[in-house]
């Protein structure tokens, strides 16, 4: 009887706790890639060699563009990608760009600019 009381007590305790929410795959944003603003982009480092991580924070799921421009704003590389609302950890592959300073630009699919950042490829 005593055991039954304990069992009922335990059942009541767990019965009254909030259901555990299912957690999807964790998307941990490193401190140096966190973006405070609701939309924008942030590079892991201003200096790059072959590859640099970038966080792209978006207002909603959709198709966006990552553009790489040289000093006179000429577009030299462009990716069209589907991304989700919030943080998206991506890469910029810089080996093929040559040694110079470039601007990476995040736009909507119809070219509205959401953010820009400068990097130096060495």
């Amino acid at each position: 009887m005593k055991n039954l009381k304990y069992a009922l007590l335990l059942l009541l305790m767990f019965g009254c706790t909030k259901d555990m929410e299912f957690m999807g795959p964790m998307s941990l944003v490193p401190e140096n890639l966190k973006i405070e603003e609701p939309v924008g982009l942030k590079l892991e480092s201003i200096f790059t060699t072959n590859q640099v991580s970038i966080n792209v924070k978006l207002p909603e799921d959709g198709t966006y563009r990552l553009k790489i421009r040289n000093i006179d704003n000429t577009l030299i590389s462009q990716e069209r990608l589907s991304a989700k609302e919030g943080d998206n950890l991506l890469s910029i592959y810089t080996k093929n760009l040559g040694k110079s300073s470039f601007t990476v630009e995040l736009t909507t699919d119809n070219h509205t600019v959401l953010g820009r950042a400068v990097f130096v490829n060495q």
């Binding site: 970038i54 990552l66 000093i71 006179d72 590389s77 069209r80 093929n96 130096v120």
Partner: protein
């Protein structure tokens, strides 16, 4: 009233204490310069308003007037200041650009100018008189104020060969940013000395002889010269004897100029001008689908009519002849078609692999019918500036060559009008602009590059694309250009040359997405940004108009 006072107080205090740092630049040599002197310009920051700013990242742009200053070299000082020995540093330059700041802010509000530039409200435009330098420094600890970051050396040029009247503005600060990466703190930077003013520079009455090369491209500092005295010339050919070495040689500056101080008055000299591919490797951009189309059209006309003689300028028959058989025909067309297809050609075709095949002469007679290339000049008390033209074999549309200015250089003289349809096609005409959408994407494990255009009427299109061959392998090029269009494509290393050309000009490339490239990744990718870059994107219309395809 109280609210108004509060607002005024916030505005007043806000404006006083908005700036955290100053960026300064100045020369460190004793004043009193003469032309040819070297000046050293140092750059440093200062903490301002006792804000205790501690930036771990500083980046700024400046520009210098390349007609007044000749860049020599730079030396990093920040890594020797005792605090920032492990700082990462970068020096980047661009020739022929000038900053157009945001007029909403004063020029010395460097942080505001940076923010405007990033937002697209300030920009760099092409300007042959200016070069831009970008300085980037990042460290794990704060970058010291007061100490020099970098020292940049310039040689002072003779103002007499320019349109400038003084040396008051030889450099300018354009924008600056400063951040503490460890806390995310962004500092506000103002400029201190915004321009370097050299004051009164003594200009010698004998300012040397200025040699200019008048070419329509931005790689002028990759142009070289060799000057011989007339006693070094072969009496028969008029060219320098085989074993003679030039008395003066070197490269032109970014403005296409050089001042030679040791030439003698009233002595005759001979100059040869040549192009080097340099670090930009621009010689592959000289001959494009427009040149190929025009030479095909000329060859068609010549073959049908037995010699259409349809060039606009005499020099075009020299530029177009790349097979050394003294005639322009289909052999030349196919040789140049092979070049734009990325195939190595004979040495007569200007390319990065072959080098330049140069033609040069005094501009006033450049391309003349009788003596197209006059290499000789004689400095005198009355003439110390000489301008030369320069051409590259294969470049019949003068995209990288001097268009002749002399009436004797035009077939039929000054008032030539096109009499045949071929002559219409071969006439020089303004370049058209059109939009193009090229983008890469990741789909089902493949990297796809889509090339889309709405521009109709192009009988030829050419693309040069490079890719990171450590990450990608090209599988295929898919053409959807129309059933009757002739396509070409070739891969050499990490470069893909492809396009289409109907050399008769009868059919044009389909609009939509006429080209698609498919790559297989060599390793797992999250996305594709930067893996594929675009170099040449050009089209040509049936009437011979070059179409510059601007990527959106």
């Amino acid at each position: 009233m109280k609210k108004l006072l509060t607002l005024l107080f916030i505005f007043f205090v806000g404006n006083i204490f908005a700036q955290d740092m100053k960026l300064d630049h100045s020369y460190i040599d004793p004043a009193g310069f003469v032309v040819g002197d070297t000046i050293t310009v140092k750059f440093n920051t200062l903490d301002w308003n006792s804000s205790n700013s501690a930036p771990t990242l500083v980046q700024y742009d400046f520009q210098w007037n390349n007609k007044l200053l000749q860049f020599i070299d730079y030396t990093w000082k920040v890594t020797g200041n005792g605090t920032n020995s492990t700082a990462q540093t970068a020096w980047n330059t661009w020739n022929g650009y000038k900053f157009s700041g945001d007029s909403s802010f004063a020029a010395n509000k460097l942080s505001d100018q940076y923010n405007s530039w990033v937002a697209g409200d300030a920009s760099y435009g092409t300007n042959a008189d200016y070069n831009v330098g970008r300085i980037t420094i990042q460290d794990a600890v704060a970058i010291e104020h007061g100490d020099s970051h970098i020292e940049v050396r310039f040689s002072i040029k003779n103002i007499n060969s320019t349109n400038y009247t003084d040396y008051s503005e030889t450099t300018n600060l354009n924008w600056a940013r400063a951040e503490d990466n460890s806390t995310g703190t962004v500092y506000d930077v103002d400029g201190m000395t915004m321009s370097v003013n050299l004051g009164n520079v003594s200009v010698p009455t004998d300012g040397g002889v200025t040699i200019k090369v008048d070419v329509p491209h931005s790689n002028k500092s990759d142009m070289g010269y060799s000057v011989y005295h007339n006693t070094q010339l072969d009496a028969t050919s008029g060219y320098p004897k085989q074993d003679e070495l030039p008395q003066f040689s070197g490269n032109f500056d970014a403005n296409g100029e050089v001042v030679l101080n040791d030439l003698y008055q009233d002595e005759e000299y001979w100059i040869g001008i040549h192009a080097n591919k340099g670090t930009d490797q621009w010689l592959d951009e000289v001959i494009t689908v427009t040149d190929v189309y025009k030479i095909f059209q000329y060859s068609l006309d010549t073959d049908i009519n037995g010699g259409g003689n349809s060039w606009e300028y005499y020099i075009q028959s020299i530029l177009a002849e790349v097979t050394n058989d003294q005639t322009v025909d289909f052999d030349d067309s196919y040789e140049l078609l092979a070049h734009i297809n990325g195939v190595t050609t004979s040495g007569n075709v200007t390319s990065d692999t072959n080098g330049a095949f140069n033609l040069s002469g005094l501009l006033t007679t450049f391309g003349d019918d009788q003596v197209p290339f006059n290499h000789k000049f004689t400095p005198s008390a009355n003439q110390s500036i000489f301008t030369f033209g320069h051409g590259l074999r294969g470049d019949v549309d003068f995209s990288h060559s001097t268009t002749p200015t002399s009436t004797d250089a035009k077939v039929g003289g000054a008032n030539t009008t096109a009499k045949t349809s071929t002559q219409e096609i071969l006439m020089s005409r303004a370049v058209e602009q059109a939009n193009l959408d090229i983008s890469s994407r990741l789909e089902e494990g493949k990297v796809l590059v889509d090339i889309s255009t709405t521009k109709a009427g192009m009988v030829g299109v050419q693309f040069n694309i490079s890719f990171d061959d450590t990450m990608l392998e090209l599988d295929d090029i898919i053409y959807d250009t129309g059933n009757e269009m002739t396509n070409f494509g070739n891969v050499k290393g990490n470069k893909v040359s492809f396009g289409s050309l109907d050399y008769k000009g009868d059919v044009s490339v389909k609009t939509g997405t006429p080209y698609k490239l498919i790559f297989t990744p060599k390793q797992q990718l999250t996305n594709t940004a930067g893996l594929v870059t675009f170099k040449i994107t050009e089209g040509v219309k049936q009437d011979g108009t070059k179409v510059k395809l601007n990527i959106q």
